[in-house]
Subunit: 345 residues, 2 copies
C-alpha cells in the first residue's frame, strides 16, 4: 500500500498529465473536414485514428422535409416522450434545495408532436422542452436485433426520411447501429459534458449545434465524481417542477458544469470547438467527451450510435483513462470501480 | 514526490497488471485464422482490433521459385550482408567475458548468395549465419520515397518474385510500406523477444517459423532494462568471434532471454504460439512482442513493414505500456525516457 492517498493521487495525476500532454503534442487540436462523405475504407481509416471529423454533404431526406407542419402531419396523434426541465439542463449536475449537487434527470412528459412544437415555439420563458430520449426513438436496438420481437419506436413514422444505417459507417465497422435517435429542441437546451461507449455519427437537420470536445486522454480534466441521483418531478400537470432525490444508485459524472468557461478547466485541457450547421455531420469517436449547445429557433438532429469495438484494447484504454484502474494502484482492488456508482450516458 | 522508489514501483506494477488482466479478460489468447487474404476493408477492421491474424493463401511467386539454385543464379555475384554469431542469437542479450550482460549485435560479413547458402547448408556446427539486415534489403524506404535518389538494395535482383506492397494492407492503411525484408536462415537462428513500431505482414516462403507473441499490454512481463552495447567482431577472417563492448549508447531491451520457458515469466503473461508454414502469412500488429524460432533446413521469409499510425492515441498507448511515463509518476520528469538509452528493433 502507498503511504497516503494524496501520494497516490499525485502519482496518478502526474501520469495522466503525461499521457494527455503526449497525446496533445502528437495530435494538436486540429480536426479533419471532409467535403463529401467518406468511402467505407476511408472511414475505416478515420475510425482507427479515432479523432473527430466534420463531414459535409451527407444527405438525408429529413434535411429537406422536416418542417414543423410536416412533422406534425406525419406523426399525427403518436405520443412522444419529452424531457422537461426548468433550465434546459437534462441529465446534468444541479443543486437541490438542500444545497447538495445531484445528477438530475428530466421530468418526462408524453405529448404529440403538435403539442410539443406548439409549446416549444410559443413559450420561450417557462420550462424547457427537449426530445432527447436516446433510447433509439427512431430505430431502437430491437430494430437491428433479429431475435427481438420489438423494433417499434416513438418516432417510427419518420423512418422513411432517415435511413436505419449509414452505409459507409456500417461497412467500415462491420456492424449495424445499436440505436438511431432524433433530437428536437431549442437554444435553451444543452447537453452536459460526458462521453459515450459508442461510435457516433451526428447529423444536423435544422438549426445549429455547437460541440465542445475533449479527447479521452483529457478525462482527468473533467473530474468525474459520484453524485446522488435526482429527477425533476411535478405533483400535478400544472404544478412547478421540483428536484426530487431518488433511491437510485449514485451516478459518476463530470463535475465541470460549463467546459466553455476555461477558468473551470485545468491547464492541461484542450477543448476543440466544432459548429455544425444543417446538413453537417460529425464523426464523434467513442470515448470523446462532448458538451453540446444549440442555436436557432428549433434545432433537429439525428444520430447513429454504433457499439464500440470490444475486441482489442480500446475498452481497456478508455476505462483506464477514466480512472478505473486508479484505486488498484494502491494495492487495494476492493476500492475499485466504485461499485455503488452507476454509469450513465 | 512519492516517499520511495519501491512504492512507486508497486503502484506502477499494480496498474500495469490491472491493464493487462483487463485486456486478457476481454481478448483471451485466441487469434483469428483467415483461409484467404482479407479485402482492404476487412483488413482495416482487423487493424483496428490490432490482434495477430494467421492468413492462409496469400501467394507470392517467391514461394514456388526460391530454390537454392534459383537464388544463387538470380543473385549472381551481388554481395549480401550476413549476420554471424556463435550461437544464432543476433541482436540479443548475451554475457560477455567480463560476466556482464550486453545487447549484442552480430558480426556482419559480406558474401555472395552462393557462398552464404553453401556455408549455411554444409556447416551446421560452426558460426551461425542469418540474412536478417532489416534495412529493407528487398525494398528499402528510399524505394517508396519519391524524394529519395536511392531505392537500391542488396537483394533487388529478387524483386520480381515479391511485390513491393501488399494491396489489401496498403489500401487499408492508406500508405505504402516503410521497408520490405528478406530473411534467410536455419534452425539455429532465433530472434530475441522485442516489439517494433511497425504494422508487420510476415510471409514464410520456405521452412517453418515459430512465433511466441505477447500483446503490448504485457510489456511489463518482459522486463525491459538498459543494457550496454556490444558487437561480435573477429580480428581476422579466420579468427573466432568475440563479444566486444562498444561506445554506443545503452540499449533498452527485454531481459527475458527465452519466453518459451514459462518459469521465467510473471504469472500475468499469456504467450500466444503461432506456427507459420511455407505459404502462411502473419499479421503482426504494431507493438506486439515477438520471439521467433525457425525449423527446417533453410527457412526463408519476407516481411512488409508499414509505419504505425502516428495520429490518434496508438503511439502514446504503446509508449505508456512500455513504461515511458513511469518516472513521471514520481513527479520527477528528468528521470524520464532514460535519455541515455537507445531504442532498437
Amino acid at each position: 500500500m502507498l503511504s497516503s492517498q494524496p501520494e497516490l493521487d499525485a502519482c496518478y495525476s502526474n501520469m495522466m498529465r503525461w499521457i494527455s500532454d503526449e497525446y496533445h503534442g502528437l495530435n494538436g487540436s486540429q480536426y479533419e473536414v471532409l467535403e463529401t462523405p467518406p468511402s467505407p475504407l476511408e472511414f475505416a481509416r478515420l475510425v482507427q485514428i479515432s479523432r473527430p471529423v466534420l463531414i459535409k454533404g451527407y444527405k438525408v431526406p429529413a434535411q429537406t422535409l422536416w418542417s414543423n407542419n410536416y412533422l406534425i402531419e406525419c406523426m399525427g396523434d403518436q405520443k412522444i416522450s419529452v424531457a422537461v426541465t426548468p433550465d434546459g439542463r437534462a441529465d446534468a449536475i444541479t443543486a437541490g434545495q438542500d444545497g447538495r449537487e445531484y445528477f438530475t434527470e428530466p421530468h418526462v412528459q408524453q405529448m404529440t408532436m403538435a403539442e410539443f412544437l406548439l409549446k416549444i415555439s410559443s413559450d420561450k420563458k417557462g420550462d424547457v422542452l427537449y426530445v432527447q430520449t436516446q433510447n433509439g426513438n427512431l430505430y431502437p436496438s430491437g430494430y437491428f436485433d433479429p431475435s427481438s420481437r420489438d423494433g417499434s419506436s416513438e418516432c417510427e413514422k419518420l423512418r422513411r426520411d432517415a435511413p436505419s444505417e449509414i452505409s459507409w459507417c456500417s461497412e467500415a465497422l462491420g456492424r449495424s447501429p445499436e440505436a438511431v435517435n432524433v433530437w428536437v429542441g431549442d437554444s435553451r437546451s444543452m447537453t452536459s459534458v460526458h462521453s459515450d461507449p459508442f461510435e457516433n455519427i451526428y447529423t444536423v437537420v435544422r438549426g445549429t449545434k455547437h460541440f465542445t470536445l475533449f479527447p479521452p486522454t483529457e478525462a482527468w480534466c473533467l473530474k468525474e465524481r459520484s453524485y446522488p441521483h435526482a429527477t425533476y418531478t411535478c405533483d400535478t400537470p400544472i404544478s412547478p417542477l421540483k428536484l426530487s432525490p431518488t433511491n437510485y444508485p449514485p451516478v459518476r459524472w463530470s463535475s465541470i458544469i460549463n467546459p466553455d468557461d476555461s477558468t473551470t478547466l485545468p491547464s492541461g485541457a484542450h477543448p476543440i470547438h466544432i459548429t455544425l450547421h444543417a446538413g453537417d455531420t460529425l464523426y464523434l469517436p467513442v470515448g470523446w467527451w462532448h458538451y453540446v449547445r444549440q442555436s436557432g429557433d428549433i434545432t433537429i438532429a439525428l444520430n447513429w450510435w454504433y457499439d464500440l469495438q470490444m475486441r482489442g484494447a480500446q475498452w481497456v484504454w478508455l476505462s483506464f483513462l477514466r480512472g478505473m484502474g486508479k484505486d488498484v494502484m494502491s494495492g487495494n482492488p476492493a476500492q475499485m470501480n466504485n461499485a455503488d456508482t452507476t454509469e450513465k450516458g
